[in-house]
Symmetry: C2
Subunit: 485 residues, 2 copies
């Protein structure tokens, strides 16, 4: 398992290189090298030899509970891995490459119809995948499970029903309030000063620069090659201070999780993150529960003012706090405030569900999209690029991914509530930019557990309850009730 991890992490370094320092002519070859490594690792993992060894381990005596968990999880992974024949995986990968090219072209021409044929081909293959993988209640469950173990339509339907019942009217009410002025965020913030501030915040969060580094890339991401080397990237828009800052904190949250995984479980389930949603809970907790709280800025904001006095000296902490939490519907998910965000995800979820239960046809998607954006966000979508073509996920064949974004925020709220209860000093810690107690709590309760528990099991272990949307709603009500009176 460790040597398979070595190969996969090597592929990850090639990915990192592609997004950061690679010279342009190297792109195609680097892609082929990654593909060779990935398929080598896959081939080795899904070999009958692996299976024989795992079965032997399964029967071994005098084995620790943790090692047995590693074996069981690995067997589960193995069973998943062999359900898709190599030929099918290659076909999927090729269809994905074609869809990607077509998606780029469709975006360029701002015309969803260009994307139709390769998207339909991909959807057909993903439908086949649901059959190969198998499912109990709903074909979409098979795809959800590849990103979030045991996540189902049944579970998500209930969750998004809560979103619809509670968050939709709450946000509609906010939209009726006077608009907040956050124009100060769009003044000129020089690149090198933003970079320095981002580095300052990462250090403050406890990100270990001896086990990681930050670089610039077009799209911010976190990537790791073992817990001793967890790298983040950011981007800087000199006319938008928010862009770098909260993406930096967000990626920092992901990175703290990876740096906190147990190194002695390298390559094994207990050395890996619990799930995408749990991963996202860590980034969202730091980005939103901390990074967009007033407490976080009690010490940080006066410091920020000294760096950008020309932009911020006449903006009070309260104005700053309101400005960075301005609620305003945007057609673009990645530019959304933290409340509307879940409407973007919900619409995507309903569409993907519709595709795989065959209640929605490809030819209906765009109208469905635009109608729902009107209903939930109050927006008229004027272009495909700002609408149904905005995200890359479908072009990668990643159906079932989006829900993890919302789940992450909801887990974050529930975890943060719990942390506030068990760390009585938390509020003052945050005001003093002292996150050590919080990080320690996250480390011992979440990070160090790796993939020992299923996401919802982990939630129960940490908070005593299943995931419950009410914690996010409490967080939102309290915070935005205050800001928007």
């Amino acid at each position: 398992m460790q040597s398979i991890a070595d190969v996969n992490y090597a592929a990850a370094l090639l990915h990192w290189d592609m997004e950061t320092y690679m010279p342009e002519k190297a792109a195609q070859r680097k892609g082929e090298q990654i593909s060779t490594l990935t398929s080598l690792a896959h081939k080795r993992f899904s070999s009958t030899k692996t299976h024989d060894l795992l079965k032997k381990c399964r029967k071994a005596k005098n084995i620790s509970d943790d090692d047995m968990t590693n074996i069981i999880r690995t067997l589960e992974d193995y069973d998943k891995a062999i359900k898709l024949p190599a030929k099918f995986v290659a076909e999927l990968s090729e269809a994905g490459s074609k869809a990607y090219v077509s998606w780029i072209e469709a975006r360029k021409q701002n015309d969803f119809s260009i994307f139709n044929v390769p998207l339909q081909k991909l959807i057909n293959l993903k439908k086949k995948e649901t059959e190969l993988t198998g499912y109990k209640a709903h074909p979409y469950d098979a795809l959800l499970d590849t990103f979030e173990p045991k996540c189902t339509v049944d579970f998500l339907d209930k969750l998004f029903l809560d979103v619809r019942k509670e968050l939709v009217p709450f946000v509609a009410n906010i939209r009726s309030k006077p608009e907040i002025d956050n124009s100060f965020l769009h003044k000129f913030y020089p690149k090198h000063k933003q970079w320095e501030f981002g580095m300052h915040i990462l250090k403050q969060m406890g990100y270990d620069f001896k086990a990681g580094r930050q670089d610039i890339s077009e799209h911010p991401f976190t990537i790791n090659f073992g817990p001793e080397d967890v790298r983040v990237t950011t981007r800087i828009d000199e006319n938008n201070f928010a862009n770098m800052t909260w993406s930096c904190i967000h990626e920092g949250g992901h990175a703290l999780y990876e740096q906190g995984l147990p190194g002695f479980e390298y390559g094994l389930p207990l050395g890996s993150a619990a799930s995408l949603a749990i991963h996202e809970s860590q980034s969202r907790l730091w980005e939103n529960m901390l990074g967009r709280s007033k407490d976080f800025w009690v010490t940080n904001y006066p410091y920020l003012q000294t760096i950008f006095p020309e932009n911020l000296s006449d903006i009070s902490l309260d104005q700053f706090y309101a400005g960075i939490n301005k609620v305003q519907a945007s057609p673009i998910r990645t530019e959304s405030d933290e409340l509307h965000y879940h409407f973007h995800v919900m619409i995507r979820y309903e569409i993907e569900k519709g595709i795989f239960e065959e209640s929605l046809k490809l030819s209906d998607l765009k109208d469905y999209w635009n109608a729902n954006y009107k209903d939930y966000l109050g927006l008229d979508i004027k272009s495909d690029k700002e609408g149904i073509l905005q995200d890359i996920h479908w072009a990668h064949g990643s159906f079932g991914y989006f829900p993890t974004y919302s789940l992450g925020s909801f887990y974050a709220a529930q975890f943060f509530k719990k942390a506030s209860e068990v760390i009585p000093t938390l509020k003052n810690d945050i005001k003093a930019t002292n996150y050590g107690n919080l990080l320690q709590w996250l480390r011992s309760n979440i990070h160090m557990e790796g993939r020992k528990y299923l996401p919802n099991e982990l939630c129960r272990k940490v908070t005593g309850e299943d995931l419950d949307f009410k914690y996010f709603m409490q967080y939102a009500s309290s915070k935005y009730g205050d800001i928007y009176k």
Copy 2:
């Protein structure tokens, strides 16, 4: 072969990362990842399946001459690869790791005796390697061949006899001449300006920055992941302008070779460099025949003066030219001028030969070293660190490597002589910083041939003759006769 190359090039990217951007805590894991990739590639290449395929290819009909060369060379590589059992390679690798640690410690304490035991162990293993590999005339031939195909003691003895007969008295004569003042090279040269100048020279040489990049590392090197991604590194000493400049040109020469290899032969012998010595011929040709010529600086020096007027405005081109070619014995090989350099290599060669023919015992090495440095370089070696402990090669088990450095310079002189004959405009081209004709000639005569020919065969093809030391001696006599009257 291409997917094996993918794995080896991925390992190379991990190496590059280690030397440039890797956070410090990642070192051990990265080393393990590299080792996993390297042994995967080795295992795959040396499998019986590879052999069966190669034998089938060997008998195939309607195959082009080039493809047949690929098959024959690969079969040769295969035969070499399987001579050393995996267990022996692992033992060698472990002994190398231990020797490296001991060498570091011995350098720290400036005491060669600390290095003795692990070095002896390594030597014993390398002796065993010569038996496993086999040889005709001399056991050291087996090791020389691993770095330079078909290179033998017989061949090198003759070569270094010429060096002894001609270069030794020539250099001794130079040492009796008045010392050249090159103190202007040791004034303060700010880092960023040196960096810019190095980048300027690399572009001027024709290095393709869309298929490569330069970074900073402790020791300069060139590394590639296919001809579309060939990277160089440099280091900058603000109090030594020579350090960055000629190492930059040197690595640039290596890089132009790699960028010039045929991409369609990726992973195959015809897509690889001919040998280490031929590689070194390219770096030395650019570094010395061009980079230390007066012609090279006719246009470049006035430009350099505009960048560093405070250091160079009162230094004439002739003074600069003499200064950068100052001949002065140094105990350190890597800081040597281009003439004394070959005495360093020759002494190493004689020692290694003595070790493997068992005419020199480990306990005699240091005295032998110091006596020879006195004889050939006129130096009293006052510390092991500046003497026998200076180079890492032995700690890596790389016996047989050093001669390729001298061979590279001698090939370079012979190639450059030929280029001067066939490109009548060459002298004026260089004066005008127009190296296109030269690069084109190197590309079509050397780079594009890959490993089609053995080094000396290539030399015959390019110059019509076997390697002959007289071309280096002609170059040295003409240049240094002029400088030192």
